[in-house]
Amino acid sequence: MAVVEVKNLIKEYPGGAGRRRPHDRGAVRAVDGIDLATEEGEYLVLLGPSGCGKTTLLRTIAGLEQPTSGDVLIDGHIVTGLPPRARQVAMVFQSYALYPHKSVYANIVFPLRAAKVPKEERDRKVQWAAALLDIGHLLGRKPRQLSGGERQRVALARALVREPKVFLLDEPLSNLDAKLRASARDELKRFQQEVGTTTIYVTHDQVEAMGLGDRIAVLSQGRIRQVGPPSEVYDNPADTFVATFIGSPPMNLVPRDDVIVGFRPEHLLPASAVPEDQAVTIRLAVDRVEFLSGDRHVYGTALGIGEPTRVVARLPATLDVAVPVGEEHEFAVARERLRFFATDTGKRTEAVERP
């Protein structure tokens, strides 16, 4: 177990056309001044759209990339200049990167042989890891003879045997089909709780992030937008990016004067379903209703709370109010559910009452 910390980390790549002349302009900042620290034994998820720098950040922590400036610390020691093998980290790649010419056993034992662990102990540890991940019966096979889920577990076992200080997982579920992904997610979480190793997990999938993370760090364009527990990130997004990136459908944002008013679709309900003393009324010109596994998604234009804006309301299956398409309907949001963002910066601001 260990604490991983990055301090003012910057990673620049030379721009595409200027690759031959490294001092050309057009350099891309993949990681743009990130400060972040895990807690002991924490499951930290780096979440962001593709190209936001999350994988680069992970690879820099692993030592596969050298930062342009800034430091990586593991357990308080600066490891910035050290090669991956000196960092005591283990990584699971998106492709799993199993050695195709080696058997499952040889794959798992590889890090131990590299660490010059005595043969008997190696064998014992492989058996332990295989038992933990329930792949003992696969040890003699080659990776190509395994299913996607089995490969993922072999990759985890290979990361696990060395008992690293930190696990780094780079979208390990993205190669699995939807059904397997749900059970693998559950397994990943239980597995981490069992071994208690600090884990940094990269994903672009907010469902994975919400389900797995003790805390989520939301990244965009090489910067951290918000770090916090899933409920915090969901309920109190730090800016409009986080508000719209997390949640499906995303938070509704309605411009009003110099602020943006935000509210989650599930909080926009027919006025009759919101207690009257704290209801902020919104008229909704309904133009479409979708039925999605019980819930109703109501699309329309919100009037009377700010500029007319298209919004979505998510009505739970338990609510029986009729919402006819093509009519204006009285909706409301509880006052405490409203969030406010500054129009110019997009950052959260204090609640602003209507003048």
């Binding site: 596969l64 991956p84 283990a90 590889f110 660490a115």
Partner: protein
Amino acid sequence: MKVRLADRPGALAWIFLMPSVVYIIALVAVPFFLAIGFALSDVTAGDPSFDWVGLRNFERAFDDPVFWRSLGNTFIFTIVSMVLVVLLGKVLANILVAQFKGKWIVRFLVLLPWTTPVALSSISWLWLLDSIFSPIDWVMRQIGMLGSQDALIKPDRNMYWLGEPGLAMASVIAVHVWRLTPLAAVIMVAGLVAIPRDLDEAARVDGAGYWRRMFEVTIPMVLPVAAVAALFGAIFTFTDMAVVDVLTNGGPNNATQVLTSWAFFRGIDGGDVGQGAAIALFLFPLLLAAAIAILQAVKRMEVR
């Protein structure tokens, strides 16, 4: 609507195949069976009439110590060249895939030997290895390895590269290696770049150093491709007589005689077509084995 020729795949297939069928029959099959026929006859350059002599040409070839010497030399050349070609090809391939300044000029220079016609390059080597005017000897004299009483190697002014049996063989092998290494390197570059980058990175995170990554990940992954490179090279070396013919003409005293050159000397220069054909036929089973091995290696790659 009439069915046109373009609508009949069977007929089209034959039309398109015809040129290669004609080519194979005229330039491969006919000469091959002709060679078998000659090997069993007493045809000579002076007397082209065909008389059946059974296996007498083979018996005469086996009785000749030069034949056995040529056979042994062929194997030595091929095996030593291939070991060196694969080793150097792997090293060169690593250089070719590395990122550094001036990469294109290095690539250009590396590939140059392969693009030079073999007769031309062999003649250049003949000059480089000349018994009196060799520039290599001149360099060695300048740095004190030759030509004085306290010289490092010997006091003579020249090495006589192509005059001493051992040196002549080493020279022929060296030229072969020089010629074939670029091809092997290019084939292995194809193998190297096909290895997913993840694998090398996984090995780095798993704590493996350079040599462990090289021997446990990179080399096993390029092995099928390296095998193809080696087998291609082996066939090229095995069937090549240009280098031997230009450099040493089989000499000194048959020290660098190989099957191809010996068959040529007996059959064409010596005019004994029957015996030349008999000797040349010895290449066939060996090349057949190499071809089968190549196809096997390719099949293994497809499975992976």
